[in-house]
Symmetry: C2
DNA sequence: TCTAAAACTAGGAATCATTACTGATTTACA
DNA sequence: TGTAAATCAGTAATGATTCCTAGTTTTAGA
């Protein structure tokens, strides 16, 4: 299937490029709707999937049951805060080494790697410290 | 909430310990049902979640929309075949280094890491080679 | 510019993994 | 054994995502 230009896809892609917080499909929908009130959620999902398959964006599955999307396709890890659910980029030097090591040890072809770290972000850590102090 | 012994949970855990292929909740259900015909899928889910929260097993979210479960809680990566969907363990030496590097670079607390590799397993590679030869 | 085919869309229905609810049962412990 | 809390079976509800269909937009070529 040849890919034809569509206004909706362009707007979806532009919105994703403008964000660094890895929005969900619904967040993309709610925002794009400001400009295109008639756009449908199905269209947002279809285009996010299409862009992912074409390698222009990447889909993140951080484990909370909702997929997220990232316009940055460079190889990097993600951190997911168990407190507030925020997702932030985490570029690590050792990713290349890890991939090389995996390829050496695994009998098969490895195309892609995805790494997620989980914990508490700085804001949530500070907040829980506040609570501890208050309770003390 | 104190955790009480339950026959069902024991059977679910035993089954998971006997498998190396990271079964889904439904696969656990179908198998445990052989021995306990009355067990319900809800009970399987509840206990798998409870065991995960207690750190006795781990939940895998490999990206196909269905969660998988692993009785091996040691730190290791997983490979997911894009061809047949099989999930296999992939222990790598560099995981500790990577975690240490992430902790050094990230301002916050990192508790846990999960790494997935995607590609084609040996069987699927051989199979696609067969198809290429046949078509040639 | 006109036209036809292919790709795309909006809107809504369908899917399906997972969770929540409810009344009955089991477990722990005095 | 008696009792309260935890758990269960069965089923309904949830919610993210995909599928479906009729109509619209885009593109390429005459």
């Amino acid at each position: 299937m040849a890919v034809k230009y569509s206004r909706q896809r362009q707007v979806i892609y532009n919105f994703l490029m403008s964000r660094k917080d890895h929005p969900t499909a619904d967040v993309v929908y709610q925002n794009v709707r400001q400009e295109y009130p008639n756009i449908s959620l199905g269209t947002v999902y279809r285009n996010l999937t299409l862009l992912t398959n074409r390698g222009e964006i990447q889909r993140l599955q951080v484990g909370d049951g909702v997929d997220r999307f990232d316009a940055d396709t460079s190889r990097h890890c993600h951190f997911i805060c168990s407190g507030c659910g925020c997702v932030t980029d985490l570029p690590l030097d050792c990713m290349e080494d890890m991939l090389a090591d995996a390829r050496k040890k695994f009998d098969g072809r490895i195309d892609r790697q995805s790494t997620y770290f989980y914990g508490l972000c700085r804001d949530c850590l500070n907040h829980s410290a506040d609570i501890s102090e208050r309770d003390a």
